[in-house]
Point group: C2
Chain length 186, copies 2
DNA sequence: TGGGTCATGTAACCTGTTACATGATTAG
DNA sequence: CTAATCATGTAACAGGTTACATGACCCA
């Protein structure tokens, strides 16, 4: 999957590993966290698969760099992946996992837990508002308004998710407060 | 994280690997998918760490089984994990990753994509309504109504997520329809 | 007689995380 | 003078996926 994210970015135009890293940070990282080391490793595999070409460029006042460009095979693979079924995708939420077992903690601890959650757990953890402005800048770079649209869709998702999470936390807190007042013993 | 999920289940009472598997399927699997093979491997590690004890039980009309029970060290580890910070948790959404690059497809293909999504991509992919009834059955097993409460919280999350996802897809479709009518060329 | 349940795993591989490593240039 | 930016990775380990393997009992 990370492979395909990188391939997708290279489809916008040639880039170095470093540039991929920065674009990734501003866009995909909201819903897919990846370390620099992993990006470079995946780039090696993309080349092995023949999905990208690498051109070494010597520089003087800067370290040398490797310019990466997507191949026809890479573009074909990207499209194949985009159109493939989303269904059996890896679901994994550490946050829900912890919530599930929160019965081990006191009600007050749990009220605090749900109070703090919305600030921490969100796909747009850097703040979705910020993501909106960043994407607008890239809109000029991509130059294809229709492609920028889907970027905006992912940000809309982030905004709606944030709102939903806050609501959910409020509901949980409300129920915990009720229980607290029913049995003040706990 | 999977380690801790298993530890949490064993904290409800002794179980075999097989039972963990079935309880897992009905509860945690909604937001954390794991293969049987992985569960057995993690059980080995839990024992190596001294977090569980294993008792071999010979059976006649059934295969022998290993009864697992959580140790004091395991309980301590479970609590440590529950109270640890949720913040830097691994975010990864294949669905948003694909959405991001959907600009490569036609508007009609994308309308179809968003129309089909709500049925596929949901933390409670087996249907959240079903999860509600299953959890009610376990409520009798757990026998501690306060613990079952947090299970219900995770299901509430699933229901709210489902609703939000449907709304988001409708919004995306609406925007795509607008664009389609503005430039019928595409 | 065929499929589901009970019950256990191993092996190979792929993906993700953490820690480490280097070093010049440039902007404040 | 110091921190950020540019630019590249390696190594070891942890966690997740896929495929395979075994075998009896019970119900329809």
């Amino acid at each position: 999957m990370l492979k395909h994210g990188i391939l997708g970015l290279l489809n916008y135009g040639d880039m170095t590993g470093y540039e991929i890293m920065t674009v990734f940070r501003d866009s995909l990282s909201h819903f897919w966290v990846a370390q620099t080391s992993q990006i470079y490793r995946e780039l090696q595999k993309l080349e092995e698969n023949g999905w990208i070409n690498v051109t070494h460029i010597a520089q003087e006042s800067r370290p040398d760099k490797n310019m990466l460009s997507i191949t026809d095979a890479g573009r074909a693979e990207l499209l194949r992946w985009i159109k493939s079924d989303t269904a059996n995708s890896a679901v994994r939420s550490p946050m829900l996992m912890k919530t599930f077992f929160r019965g081990e903690c006191s009600i007050d601890e749990n009220i605090a837990f749900f109070r703090d959650l919305p600030g921490k757990e969100t796909p747009f953890h850097n703040g979705s508002e910020n993501a909106v402005t960043v994407s607008s800048q890239y809109e000029k770079v991509i130059e294809e308004p229709l492609k920028a649209l889907y970027w905006k869709f992912t940000i809309d998702f982030g905004l709606m998710y944030d709102r939903m999470l806050r609501e959910w936390c409020e509901n949980c807190i409300r129920k915990l407060e009720e229980i607290k007042h029913e049995n003040p013993a706990d």
